[in-house]
Subunit: 112 residues, 2 copies
């Protein structure tokens, strides 16, 4: 476990702890919701905006950029007019699903 | 999954989504570290302070209060002089371990 392996040393101001890395990806109000929405296939910006109650276009843009930078989401721009852009999960993004299921199990058991 | 069951409606300003509930417990820089430290048995305040590099007494106090309120940590005050206080994980707290292991696996695979 993270603690036993003592890989807690802060590196360049960032914990090297894998758990902290995961929290940086899925933490916050919207990141994990965007990831969950893309779990059933690629979506256009407008589709994401529609199915994420209460998110602003600015926040969604920020989330997608961050997730893209972290290698969780892949953006594809199709060479057509008008422009057609789609977002999908990478393999790295899809592998978060088992985590979400464990979180869901724990949350359902203890918090609802 | 959270998305399919559409239990995303905000309730009293809080998402009812179990994943959000988990992030409220383990999110932030110190919560999950305090939980991990208690994984191998109860500890006194001073012991926790010592083994959590860089945490202040004030922050540790705040974290323990929050985790206690969330039912993750149990505080025991022993009726001796001087006062003897110990903190330990509840069953609810211990059951977060499988989640941390999945996070560790994902983090080790994709972030290190």
């Amino acid at each position: 476990m993270c603690v036993e392996k003592e890989i807690f040393e802060p590196v360049r101001g960032k914990d090297k702890c894998p758990i902290n890395s995961v929290l940086e990806v899925i933490g916050g109000k919207w990141n994990y919701k965007v990831i969950l929405r893309l779990n059933d296939g690629s979506k256009r910006f407008g589709e994401l905006l529609e199915c994420l109650n209460g998110i602003s276009a600015k926040t969604l843009t920020y989330c997608l950029k961050k997730l893209e930078k972290k290698g969780i989401v892949k953006k594809t721009i199709y060479p057509v007019v008008p422009a057609h852009v789609e977002y999908e999960l990478t393999k790295k993004g899809y592998e978060l699903q088992i985590l979400f299921e464990e979180m869901q199990n724990w949350g359902d058991k203890w918090e609802n």
